[in-house]
Amino acid sequence: MQASQVEIRKVNKFYGPFQALKNVDLTIPPGKVTCLIGPSGSGKSTLLRCINFLEEYDAGEVRIDGQLIGYDAPGRKMSGRKLREMRRSIGMVFQQFNLWPHMTALENVAEGLIRVRGLSKRDAQARAEDALRKVGLGDKMANHPSRLSGGQQQRVAIARAIAMEPRLMLFDEPTSALDPELVGEVLTVMKTLAAEGMTMVVVTHEMGFAAHVADQVAFMDAGELIAAGDPASILHQPQDARIQSFLRTYHERNSF
């Protein structure tokens, strides 16, 4: 599998007078797992959504394998066609799953293969079946999302993304909307992907996942990237007071 590298340089994002991202710099190495952590409202989801340009950054650069996304040149927006071309190789998984409720699990996964990749209905279905089996849902293909648990829905959403054979996967708090007992099955699928050498960027509150699976952890606060490094240095010997306070709160909330 080819894996993409992402370079984020001096990225800024404004919502009116509010600055959501402040000069963010981060390199996401190919074939590795990068976890974005930090308090809510710190800009980590916004940053993630800038990588596939669902969120339009206002200044700076996001490059995927060297190619600037969203703009042809600073200030000149790229055409819809070119943007769609780039998005084909970037998978995304959302907090709320965002499955299409009027389609079965199989149709959810096959839709992009048919409409975007131009596969025949039969080939698309065969590939969608493979993807669904891979996430352990071989027996749920004919179910509509409303007949699936949250964990199963999120695994369908992961199948929908990986069926497109992306070189980069973005996860926006993939387990935050799940009941605690359903978190594990989703994290297991994500670990499998990580082991296969997929470049993954994961916004998460699962510190266990960040500690054990991530190759790089980046901490954000108030729109700034405070620190990025290997999990041990960020999570176990944090230098910055904001990280220390964030982790203290986290540990207090999760101990009983």
Partner: protein, 215 residues
């Protein structure tokens, strides 16, 4: 006294007149769907001029009673040199009036869809026409069905207003019938029964469609 034979005899001419009621409301909703969809598209378009036009269209047509619209339209056409049969003028007016409500029904359904639905499609590189055709509209149509059936039932009843331009639909036919038989009570109750029967059928159709498209 209420006369059962007179009541029963009133049905035949009224059922005959019901063709016009059905024709006007059927063609009216069809025309309303086409124009309403275009108006809704204009309302959601990135062009301010189109949005403004659609907003004015909707507020004007919702703000003026259908009866007045019918009369204005019917008496304006000859003045500007257009000579069309009353039935055409009636269908067009009813359709245009319905378009205002239908465009708002679409807009409401589309606005009610979570943003993530379109985002998930955009994120895998789907083109706008696929996002609309495969993700947004199928869900919007399903969500709008109850409101659309409601609109159709309102149109069937509102079609009685076209009697003012001389079309012999159920209401006008029952007025004529009442005048010649001097039995208004039996005739108007028969007319009420026919309207009710039509609309009960439409409600049943609505329930059937909702059941079939349930997500």
């Amino acid at each position: 006294m209420f006369s059962i034979p007179v009541f029963l005899q009133a049905f035949e001419p009224l059922i005959w007149a019901a063709r016009y009621t059905l024709l006007i409301s059927g063609l009216g909703i069809a025309l309303g769907l086409v124009i309403g969809t275009l108006i809704c598209a204009a309302r959601l378009s990135p062009y301010a001029a189109l949005r403004g036009f659609a907003a004015v269209w909707v507020s004007f047509l919702r703000g003026v009673p259908l009866l007045v619209q019918l009369l204005v339209f019917y008496y304006t056409l000859p003045v500007i040199g257009i000579d069309v049969p009353a039935i055409v003028a009636a269908v067009v007016t009813v359709g245009i009036c319905a378009s205002a409500y239908i465009s708002e029904i679409w807009r409401g359904a589309i606005a009610a869809l979570p943003k993530g639905q379109a985002e998930a499609a955009a994120a895998i590189g789907m083109a706008p026409h696929h996002i609309w055709g495969r993700v947004i509209l199928p869900q919007a149509v399903t969500m709008s069905l109850p409101a659309l059936i409601n609109e159709l039932i309102l149109l069937v009843k509102a079609s009685s207003l076209v009697s003012v331009v001389g079309i012999l639909e159920i209401t006008r036919a029952s007025q004529a019938q009442a005048a010649t038989t001097f039995r208004p009570l039996e005739v108007y109750i028969a007319a009420a029964c026919i309207y009710l029967a039509i609309n009960l059928c439409l409600s049943a159709l609505g329930r059937y469609l909702e059941h079939r498209t349930a997500i």
